[in-house]
């Protein structure tokens, strides 16, 4: 293929590439371009190679490679070296989401992100050069492995960005909490399965609460409860009904009465919520600085992701919806890939990978809590401290 030396070369390392996969809509932003601030933006980046771990009948990677003139290699190392003896690309997308992988006893899908990452950094080490890497969603199902990944990125000194699209997608309304604000309480409402969608919800919550006074200090304990105990915990004051009202006031979901006869329903102040949500779950996060936050997964009542927080001295609660625009465009992934492009172009990750590290650990330990009798678990290993980025990183924050 003709290669323009001024353009950056990107390798896609992925588990699975069909129409609905993350590999497809994330890679497309570099293959086709994407809308940015009212213009169709075509990054100065070429996808030059891919490694695809599983290629069932629905696989699209072959067609994409033929259409866009890149090669699919049988190993990760070859995809990074383009079949030569040396690292031959400028950046790596590691998309270990979707595909047929086993679950462990904690309900975690054992996506081989860490294993792929190890193969990538082995090439970096052997070839004496490291590149910017983006890792889709949590770093690994295992906090131990996730921590090792971050440590390696520091040792080899390459820009490392990771996480969900929720922190960077459009917000309704487009608000950001002021840096160093005194947050007293926070509640996130999400939906979907574990450990796929709860991760998104936890990272969305983290990108808001990390802006609290003193910065992120890490997490000292977590607990995951489910079923009727969730409602009981609300009555006991372990999570705030008032914050739930604020978060749900931002929801556009249609469920229950909204489906049966169209009425908007005040879920926070009726028994409809308890009727609609058959299997609620609450994730309690206690931070080292004493701050507490809660994620409620309310399947059956909502299909969107909302957040509310109480900030000291603010007369009103702050609340928003993390907007996930619909298929086919799912423009939230364009929001995330614009951040990856920014890292590739500038050589700097626009937000700290420690956010994703901490949330990977929070989720891993919450799932431990679930299988260990929903006990509160002390988490001294989650002493991940970092500072939130000063500027807002979400789509729409830039006009």
């Amino acid at each position: 293929m003709m290669v323009d030396q001024r353009r950056k070369k990107l390798a896609i390392i992925t588990t699975f590439w069909n129409w609905r996969s993350h590999a497809n809509h994330m890679s497309e932003r570099f293959l086709n371009g994407y809308p940015r601030n009212g213009k169709w933006h075509r990054p100065e980046i070429d996808v030059v190679s891919a490694y695809v771990d599983q290629r069932p009948e629905s696989d699209l990677s072959g067609e994409k490679a033929a259409h866009h003139d890149f090669n699919i290699f049988p190993t990760i190392a070859e995809a990074l070296r383009l079949g030569t003896d040396n690292l031959a690309v400028d950046a790596v997308l590691l998309i270990g989401e979707h595909g047929d992988y086993p679950d462990n006893e904690k309900g975690q899908k054992l996506y081989p992100r860490y294993e792929f990452f190890e193969q990538i950094v082995e090439v970096f080490r052997k070839d004496g050069r490291s590149l910017p890497v983006f890792n889709d969603k949590h770093l690994s199902y295992s906090f131990t492995k996730a921590k090792r990944m971050v440590e390696t990125s520091k040792q080899l000194r390459f820009p490392f960005l990771a996480g969900s699209s929720l922190p960077v997608t459009f917000r309704i309304p487009p608000i950001e909490l002021p840096l160093n604000c005194p947050i007293e309480d926070a509640l996130m409402v999400g939906n979907g399965g574990s450990d796929a969608m709860d991760y998104h919800a936890l990272e969305a919550m983290q990108c808001m609460v990390e802006r609290r006074r003193g910065g992120e200090t890490g997490v000292k304990a977590v607990q995951l409860i489910d079923g009727d105990e969730v409602w009981q915990a609300g009555q006991d004051g372990r999570w705030s009904r008032r914050l739930l009202e604020a978060a749900l006031a931002r929801s556009d979901s249609r469920s229950g009465i909204g489906l049966s006869d169209g009425r908007p329903q005040d879920l926070a102040h009726s028994d409809e919520l308890e009727k609609l949500v058959k299997d609620p779950a609450a994730y309690f996060i206690e931070y080292n600085d004493g701050f507490r936050a809660t994620l409620l997964m309310l399947n059956g009542a909502v299909q969107d992701f909302t957040f509310a927080a109480k900030i000291r001295d603010f007369p009103k609660l702050q609340s928003l919806q993390f907007l996930l625009p619909p298929k086919p465009n799912v423009t939230y992934s364009a929001c995330l890939m614009s951040k990856v492009e920014e890292m590739i172009v500038t050589g700097r990750a626009p937000f700290p990978v420690e956010r994703t590290l901490l949330v990977s650990g929070i989720l891993d330990r919450c799932l431990d809590s679930r299988i260990h009798g929903h006990r509160r678990l002390l988490t001294p290993e989650l002493n991940v401290s970092y500072r939130a980025p000063r500027g807002s990183q979400f789509c729409g924050a830039i006009g």
């Binding site: 809509h25 169709w40 459009f170 749900l248 556009d252 086919p328």
Partner: protein, 447 residues
């Protein structure tokens, strides 16, 4: 309609506001969060009672969506908002099997269903007995005329309403959903009557007041040279939404609204021929504004089925819009020279409406998406801000924006349909010399 002064110059609902210009980071506008309304103290006053006149009250009809928001509330800011007015009477014109109005009357003890509009407004007595009227003449089985207009009885409902006002020697605020009427003369008469009787009235689509992405307004006093919208749907139905979306931005331009001098509608291949001409001067529109619209859309249909999001090549445009409702364009020019093109492109866009405008001395177009929800499976909460404005008008007597906006868009809708009916004929529109000055304060949902 050459009254340049807006009778209702102070809007009833002003989100605590400062100018938000294109490109200003929304993050620094965080201080906007926590909008306040200026309703005054109503605690010592009796809650206003209002009447709703609807054509049909079934699941997801406009009547249901709006009236249910008054009856049961809706999410607003960080709370469940219970309106400070009571819907006490209901007139429903048609009762399909799926009717919900009788269920609502049973559910809400203070709500009564009447068999005539007069009784609905007098609560069965002899005099006007309500403090506000919602006129929602959308949905239901009504005949279409030969031009394709659905003959919703908005004017007829309005006439019966003002008959009660006249007979009672007193008028109350009126909201009219969507365009005032399918008939220009009737719409004109409705506005004239509201001014003669001196009651607050506003009308229109939910688009001008719904959320926007990005959350910006046309800079006040901007020199707007050309404006384009890309939307979906059919004529006499969705054209009004797009036209209202364009008009609420265009009216903020330098000099205020001047009215429209001509319009020409195109359909089918003519639309793409105009597009390929490459400019307004050549019979089309500014391609950079078209691109800006498509790049604000969040529901662009990919030409290639293996892709999720592509920018259409010129040859894709005809192919994508070849089946289903044919594409439509309304090209029109304002009296001050502003050029406008409204496009309905079923097949290219799945379900959203975007607008882009070229401003003098600005290198990049101003552009935005009117955010009406993330797909049709979600609650139509774009009715929340519209309902909130109705409530505010009833509480304060102040409409959020001049009814002349909707008079003009009503006239544009009727004229666009007429142009198509006459074979895409260019029509001079001296009757659309509707001049008005909107309020500077933004009225769309931001917080």
């Amino acid at each position: 309609m050459a009254d340049k002064t807006n009778r209702w110059t102070t809007p009833g609902i002003n989100i605590s506001r400062r100018d938000v210009l294109v490109g200003v980071p929304a993050a620094i506008a965080w201080g906007l969060a926590g909008g306040v309304t200026t309703r005054g103290d109503h605690s010592s006053r009796k809650r206003p009672q209002i009447a709703a006149l609807v054509t049909e009250y079934r699941k997801y009809s406009h009547g249901q969506n709006i009236v249910d928001r008054f009856l049961g509330g809706y999410g607003w800011e960080s709370r469940w908002h219970h309106p400070e007015v009571d819907v006490v009477s209901l007139y429903v014109d048609q009762f399909p099997e799926s009717d919900l109005s009788r269920e609502r009357v049973a559910r809400y003890p203070d709500l009564n269903l009447y068999s005539t509009i007069t009784e609905t407004l007098t609560l069965g007595g002899s005099q006007l007995a309500v403090d506000g009227v919602l006129l929602i003449g959308e949905h239901g089985k009504y005949p279409k005329n030969e031009k394709g207009q659905t003959l919703y009885p908005r004017y007829e409902f309005f006439q019966e309403t003002v008959d009660v006002f006249r007979n009672s020697g007193r008028s109350v605020p009126v909201f009219c959903d969507k365009h005032l009427s399918w008939n220009w003369d009737w719409a004109h008469d409705m506005v004239k009557t509201s001014h003669e009787l001196g009651f607050p009235m506003f009308a229109g689509s939910s688009l001008p007041v719904c959320r926007r992405i990005p959350s910006v307004d046309m800079p006040w006093g901007a020199e707007v040279e050309e404006i384009v919208s890309v939307g979906v749907g059919g004529i006499d139905s969705y054209d009004i939404h797009s036209l209202e979306g364009m008009q609420c931005l265009a009216e903020r331009r330098r000099g205020g609204e001047t009215g429209v001098v001509w319009i020409q509608a195109l359909r089918g291949d003519s639309v793409w021929e105009a597009f390929h001409s490459g400019s307004w001067e050549a019979g089309g529109w500014d391609p950079s504004l078209f691109e800006a619209c498509l790049c604000r859309s969040q529901s662009l249909k990919p030409a290639d089925e293996n892709s999720r999001h592509t920018y259409p090549r010129p040859e894709d445009l005809r192919q994508l819009t070849a089946t289903g409702t044919p594409p439509v364009a309304y090209r029109f020019e304002y009296a001050d020279g502003l050029r406008a093109t409204m496009l309905l492109l079923e097949g290219l866009v799945i379900n959203d409406i975007t607008v882009a405008a070229r401003l003098k001395n600005q290198s990049q177009p101003f552009s935005l998406l009117f955010y009406t929800g993330s797909g049709h499976h979600m609650q139509p909460n774009f009715f929340n801000p519209l309902s909130h404005h109705m409530e505010n008008m009833i509480l304060t007597g102040q409409p959020p924006y001049p009814v002349e906006r909707t008079l003009l868009t009503t006239g544009l809708t009727a004229a666009g349909v007429e142009s198509l009916w006459l074979g895409e004929k260019r029509l001079e529109t001296p009757h659309l010399a509707v001049q008005y000055q909107p309020n500077k304060a933004s009225t769309f949902r931001r917080t």
